[in-house]
Amino acid sequence: MSEFNPTILAFCCNWCSYAGADLAGVSRLQMPPNVHVIRVMCSAAVKPEYVFKALSQGIDGVLVLGCHIGDCHYMTGNHRTAKRFPLAQKILNDVGIDETRLKLDWVSAAEGEKFQQVITEFVGVIKKLGPNPLREVKF
């Protein structure tokens, strides 16, 4: 059996974490090639519905990355992000999905290294967890 190569989705806000990801690229910081970024304007525009959709259809992990608290381009956006996703995690746990398959973190536009670190660690966590069991479940 070949090594498990997880498929991971990341939502990055335009102003901080997407820029941080760009900086990681410009700095040629190497990281595992499992994460696919969707750009949104603000982390608070990420509907938990997307996360539920992705995980229930077999995506192995979802990252939601925003600006640091206090740095939101839209003032209070990420406060709402920080309020929603812990609950989304608990709901995952309620139905038996490992809650660490969803991660919320903050990456600023200047934190290319942090982006690399978050991606590398998350891919490591998901590899350890193994494939999303729902990938095999046929509804």
Partner: protein
């Protein structure tokens, strides 16, 4: 059905040396809605753009996907190109396979290619659902704010007021001029700094358009390009001013050695600025040793501050000119005297008898106190010999480092800094004096250690850039605003609570209560979209169906294919 064209960029070797662009192109051709796919060397070159336009025409494309670098720098260019080819520019979707793929997976070409294919599939899925948009406009307050009254800020403010633009210049110290107040002449052309500062100051002070705020700081900032409101605080009062554009010229400071080479304990070991003050008082030492790269180009602070070599050469020449018999040595690791003039001055210094010796980081010079003065022991790499030098003064050439409260300023302006604490421009080549945040500009040493001539050039550049929205009088509002589907909306008010800008209200239209977005107030954050339970609230360009389709595409291509 959309007719989608996909263009994969090689970016020279940047993408193509890792990602198999031909494979990605062939894959793109199989995606739903794609009627044309090709790859080219540099999509952003005039040739690349032209070929995209030709393909649009030949294949009657109505959705364009470019897989290349980051939308944060190149999206406007490609959007304009679509417009030139007669396609609404919001029917364009950017896929980032450079910063987010080839550059960060350089050693895994196969996986990077697979990822690029997934990303292209996601982009195509979104593109298929894109809708044409029209841009809005908003007025610009014709006033500029320059933060920092050093050489860069003075150059910027002077340029702005000379164009007749009302300008607030905020300086935290009690007088203008910044670091140059402590420097008598500026190398390599030996300009008198006082004269330069006075000239710029006068041009600002005599303008009725200038408001100079000394001993003041910007302590609050709200708003967006065209309509910022800044709070300028001094001991006396807080003043709120409305401005359309902001230039950050907060400068840097000289790094103070933390005990290196006996600084602080050995008398005679001084910094470059301390030497400048001595020379200004016509105190020329008999024996001087400069040590370059103190606190820079070493682990922890690995950048080159660039100005220190020229400064040491300049001061060495000044000492030599005042006292031709004085003994002056410059201990360096590499001399950075780039450009035509500085290199000539470097030669001139050598001709005047300034001795240049190269040391290495592994074997740094040693300083000892003698009965009178200091002795420096240096291993000269070139001669492979240890040399003893006597010195009245050892001058430590330290780098420019960010100001101490740079993080606070960054937080206030919501702009990024790099890992050293210098401000980070939007793009080092394409947008060198702008932040990614529209309407905020950057110049001088706040961005990176710069020579005075570069500070001035950047100040002028920032002023020119800042004057664009002010002169235009209007800025385009990107159509990423939210709107509510009146059929679905049940007026529950979640969006009203979620909006940080009070841009949404519940109104009654055709006897149906529903949410309505005020476009002029909407900043396109999408917070209301996430708060809406029945998907009535949507953001242009980031529709839930569009993002949902991206997720579906990833599932289809990454999961179902591998099964």
């Amino acid at each position: 059905m959309a007719r989608i064209g996909v263009f994969i960029c090689h970016c020279g070797h940047n993408i193509a040396s890792v990602v198999d662009v031909e494979k990605v192109t062939e894959f793109a051709k199989t995606l739903p809605g794609v009627v044309f796919a090709s790859h080219n060397m540099y999509s952003c070159s005039e040739e690349g753009l032209g070929s995209i336009r030709d393909s649009i025409e030949e294949n009657k494309l109505d959705r364009i996907v470019v897989a290349a670098c980051t939308p944060r720098t190149h999206e406007p260019l490609f959007r304009r190109n679509c417009e030139r080819a007669g396609v609404n520019k919001y029917l364009f979707e950017f896929v980032n396979i450079r910063e987010h793929c080839s550059w960060i997976h350089a050693k895994e070409p196969e996986d990077a290619t697979r990822k690029a294919m997934n990303l292209v599939a996601m982009g195509v899925a979104k593109a298929a659902l894109l809708e044409p948009q029209t841009e809005g406009e908003s007025n610009v307050v014709p006033v500029a704010l320059v933060i920092g009254g050093g050489i860069s800020g003075l150059a910027a403010a002077s340029a702005l007021v000379s164009q007749g633009i009302e300008t607030h210049l905020v300086e935290k110290e009690a007088s203008l001029g910044g670091i140059l107040r402590d420097i008598e002449v500026i190398g390599p052309e030996m300009t008198e700094s006082k004269k330069l500062i006075e000239e710029l100051k006068r041009s600002i002070e005599c303008s009725p358009k200038a408001h100079i705020h000394l001993s003041s700081r910007v302590t609050g900032l709200t708003g967006f390009i065209g309509n910022f409101e800044a709070t300028i605080s001094s001991e006396k009062c807080d003043e709120k001013v409305k401005v359309g554009a902001i230039i950050v010229a907060t400068g840097g400071r000289e790094f103070i050695p933390k005990g290196e080479y006996g600084y602080g304990s050995l008398p005679g070991v001084i910094t470059q600025l301390e030497l400048e003050k001595m020379l200004a008082k016509k105190e020329f030492p008999e024996k001087t040793v400069f040590i370059q790269c103190v606190g820079s180009r070493q682990p922890g602070r690995d950048f080159c501050s660039r100005m220190c070599c020229n400064t040491s050469i300049k001061n060495a020449i000044r000492i030599k000119e005042a006292k031709p018999d004085a003994r002056v040595s410059v201990l360096h690791r590499d001399i950075m005297s780039y450009g035509t003039l500085a290199e000539r001055v470097y030669m001139e210094a050598a001709e005047k008898g300034v001795r240049f010796m190269r040391y290495s980081l592994e074997r740094i010079p040693m300083i000892k106190k003698k009965d009178s003065g200091l002795s420096v022991e240096v291993y000269d790499e070139t001669l492979d010999e240890v040399i003893q030098l006597d010195a009245d003064n050892v001058v430590l050439a330290t780098p420019m480092v960010p100001i101490d409260d740079v993080k606070d300023v960054a937080m206030l302006l919501k702009v990024p800094v790099d890992k050293y604490g210098f401000f980070l421009e939007a793009h080092v080549k394409l947008r060198p004096v702008e932040f990614a945040t529209e309407g905020v500009f950057i110049c001088g040493t706040a961005r990176w250690p710069s020579q005075v001539s570069e500070c001035i050039a950047q100040g002028l550049a920032a002023a020119a850039k800042a004057s664009v929205p002010i002169r235009e009088g209007k800025v385009v509002i990107e159509p990423i605003t939210a709107f509510s589907d009146s059929e679905k909306c049940i007026a529950c008010g979640n969006c009203v609570i979620a909006c940080p800008y009070e841009a949404i209200e519940i109104v009654e239209i055709d006897s149906k209560k529903q949410a309505k977005v005020n476009e002029a107030q909407c900043k396109g954050c999408g917070n209301c979209v996430a708060a809406c339970h029945n998907d009535a609230m949507q953001q242009k360009g980031f529709g839930t169906r569009q993002l949902g389709a991206m997720i579906d595409a990833l599932i289809k291509n990454a999961l179902e294919v591998s099964e």
